[in-house]
C-alpha cells in the first residue's frame, strides 16, 4: 500500500494529466448527451413514433461492445478517426439511453390530475412543460443523468484504446506489462472520480429543486 502510494507520487504529473483528460471526456460527453437526450426524451412523451425509434435505437447502441464501436468509428470522417472525437461520440451514444429514459419516465409519471389542473388554469403547453412537468420530473431526470455520468466514467477508460488518453492509459499499460500498480493507478482514481461526479450532480439537483420548487 505504502509502496503503491509512493508509486502514485512518482507518477503524479502524468496521473494529474490523465485524470484531467478523463474528466474532460466525461463532462463533455455527458453534456452533449444531455443536450441531445433530454429534448428527445421529452419529445418521446408527445409522439409515439419518436418514442419507438429513439428509445429503440438507444437500446441497440447499448449492446454494441465498445471496441467494436471504435472499429466502426475509425474510418469515418469528422466524428471518427483516432483520438478524442471517436471516444466522445462513443460515450455520447452510450449515455443517451439512461438520459432519455429518465426524462421520458419522469414526465410520463406526472400525475394526470396535476396535468389537468394546469390545463384548467389556462397554462399553455410550453408553460405546462416548464413550470409543472419538468420540475416534477426533476428527480427522474437527474436519476438518468447520474447513471449516465457514472457509467461514462467507467466507459471512458476504454477511450485509451483509441488514443484518446484518460485514466484508461494506466490500465492498458498495466495490462500490457502485468503491472498491478499501474492498473490500480488507473482504476482507483476512476472509482473516486465516479463518486465525485455522482455527488456533484446530486448537489446540482438539490440546488435546482430548491430554486424551482413546483
Amino acid at each position: 500500500m505504502l509502496g503503491w502510494l509512493r508509486f502514485l507520487l512518482f507518477h503524479r504529473r502524468e496521473l494529474l494529466q490523465l485524470f484531467a483528460e478523463h474528466l474532460g471526456l466525461v463532462v463533455l460527453s455527458t453534456a452533449l448527451a444531455a443536450a441531445i437526450g433530454l429534448p428527445l426524451g421529452v419529445w418521446a412523451t408527445r409522439r409515439r413514433g419518436v418514442r419507438r425509434w429513439a428509445l429503440g435505437a438507444a437500446n441497440i447502441v447499448q449492446t454494441i461492445p465498445s471496441l467494436a464501436l471504435f472499429g466502426f468509428l475509425l474510418p469515418l470522417p469528422l466524428i471518427g478517426g483516432v483520438g478524442a472525437p471517436s471516444a466522445i461520440v462513443a460515450l455520447v451514444l452510450y449515455s443517451l439511453l439512461p438520459i432519455m429514459r429518465g426524462a421520458y419516465g419522469g414526465i410520463v409519471q406526472v400525475d394526470a390530475a396535476v396535468r389537468e389542473a394546469a390545463i384548467a388554469l389556462g397554462m399553455t403547453p410550453r408553460q405546462r412543460l416548464l413550470q409543472v412537468e419538468l420540475p416534477l420530473a426533476l428527480p427522474a431526470i437527474f436519476g438518468g443523468l447520474r447513471v449516465a455520468a457514472v457509467i461514462s466514467v467507467g466507459t471512458a477508460t476504454i477511450a485509451a484504446a483509441i488514443g484518446a488518453g484518460g485514466l484508461g492509459e494506466f490500465i492498458f499499460r498495466g495490462l500490457a506489462t502485468a503491472d498491478n500498480r499501474l492498473i490500480l493507478a488507473g482504476a482507483v482514481p476512476a472509482a473516486l472520480l465516479a463518486l465525485g461526479v455522482d455527488g456533484s450532480l446530486g448537489a446540482l439537483e438539490a440546488w435546482l429543486a430548491r430554486r424551482y420548487k413546483p
Binding site: 471496441l67 483516432v82 499499460r173 500490457a176
Partner: protein, 293 residues
C-alpha cells in the same frame, strides 16, 4: 488372392481395435497455448500430430487460451500442462528477466540454458520468428520507396504513428527503437489498442504501426513490413517448451514440426483463422497433410 486379402483385413482390423483399446488407457499429452490465434494454431498442430502419430494415436488434452506467458510457464512448472508454444525472446525477457540477444542462435542457446536450469526442455526452432514488425501501407511504401526502417527515418517527420501499449512499455519497444533509428514523427505517436492500430493504418488515420511479423492481417489489409535493417528487435523464434517427462512422447512429433513452419506459412495460417474465419483445427490439419510425414 481373395482369401489373403480378407485375412489381411481381419488382422488389420484386429490390430486397429487393439490399438484403440490400448490408447484409451494409454499415454496422455496435455497441450497448453496462450490466448491468441498463432498459439492456438501451434497447439492444434501439435495436438493433431499427436493424433496422427504412427502406431497408436496419443490421447490429447487441450488447455488453450491460457492468459499470458507467466501463466503458461507456471502451469508447465506445476505439471498441469506438458508442453506449450513459446518464443525465445519472450522467454528470456519476460520469464528469465534477461536482455535477449539480437542473434537468433545465441537467443535460442540462452533460452535452452535458462530452461534447463528451471528443469524444462525446449525444441529446436520451429522455423519462424514472431517479432515486432514495423508496418506501413503497401501503397505508401511504393510511393516513398520504403523497404527498411532506416529509410523510414528520412520521411518520418511527415508521418503519424500509433502503437499498442506493449510496444511503448517494453525495453525492446518504442523508446529504444526510435533512438536506434533516429526516428521523429510529425506528432508524438499515439498509444492505442493493438487490434485497432491495424484498422487505423488501413483507413489512413495513421501511417506507421508496429504489429506482429506473422499477423494474417498484413496481407489482408495490404500492408508492408519494413525490414529491421539495424537488427534492433531481438529474435523471437518460435519453440515448444516441455517437461522432460513428456520427452519420449514428444520427440517424434517435434521431429516432424521443427524447422518446418516458415514465416510465410505461419502468416498464411494466421490469416486463414483471423481473416477467413476458418477453424484452427482444420487449418492445422491441412498444414500437416501438406507436410511430408
Amino acid at each position: 488372392m481373395n482369401f489373403s486379402r480378407r485375412a489381411f483385413c481381419l488382422v488389420a482390423g484386429l490390430v486397429m481395435a487393439l490399438g484403440a483399446a490400448a490408447c484409451r488407457s494409454g499415454p496422455r499429452l496435455v497441450i497448453g497455448a496462450k490466448d491468441f490465434t498463432e498459439q492456438i494454431v501451434l497447439g492444434e498442430l501439435l495436438a493433431n500430430a499427436a493424433r496422427q502419430r504412427p502406431g497408436a494415436p496419443l490421447d490429447v488434452v487441450r488447455r488453450f487460451d491460457l492468459g499470458g506467458t507467466l501463466l503458461c510457464h507456471r502451469a508447465l512448472l506445476a505439471g498441469r500442462i506438458d508442453v506449450y508454444p513459446e518464443y525465445t525472446g519472450t522467454a528470456l525477457a519476460d520469464i528469465f528477466h534477461q536482455t535477449p540477444p539480437a542473434d537468433a542462435k545465441a537467443a535460442w542457446r540462452a533460452a535452452r540454458a535458462d530452461y534447463r536450469r528451471a528443469g524444462l526442455r525446449i525444441s529446436r526452432p520451429l522455423g519462424f520468428d514472431d517479432s515486432f514488425a514495423i508496418l506501413v501501407r503497401q501503397s505508401m511504401a511504393k510511393r516513398l520507396h520504403l523497404a527498411n526502417v532506416s529509410e523510414l527515418a528520412r520521411v518520418a517527420p511527415r508521418l503519424r504513428a500509433a502503437f499498442g501499449y506493449e510496444f511503448f512499455q517494453r525495453p525492446d519497444g518504442y523508446p529504444g527503437w526510435a533512438r536506434a533509428y533516429h526516428i521523429h514523427f510529425a506528432s508524438p505517436p499515439r498509444a492505442m489498442a493493438l487490434a485497432l492500430t491495424y484498422l487505423a493504418l488501413a483507413s489512413h488515420r495513421v501511417d506507421v504501426i508496429a504489429g506482429d511479423s506473422t499477423a494474417g492481417r498484413i496481407q489482408a489489409l495490404r500492408l508492408a513490413a519494413l525490414r529491421d535493417d539495424r537488427h534492433f528487435f531481438p529474435a523471437y523464434q518460435a519453440i515448444y517448451v516441455y517437461r522432460p517427462a513428456a520427452a519420449p512422447l514428444l520427440a517424434p512429433l517435434l521431429q516432424r514440426l521443427q524447422g518446418r513452419i516458415s514465416t510465410a506459412a505461419m502468416r498464411a495460417m494466421n490469416a486463414d483463422v483471423d481473416v477467413r474465419h476458418q477453424d484452427p483445427k482444420a487449418v492445422a490439419l491441412r498444414f500437416l497433410a501438406a507436410l511430408k510425414r
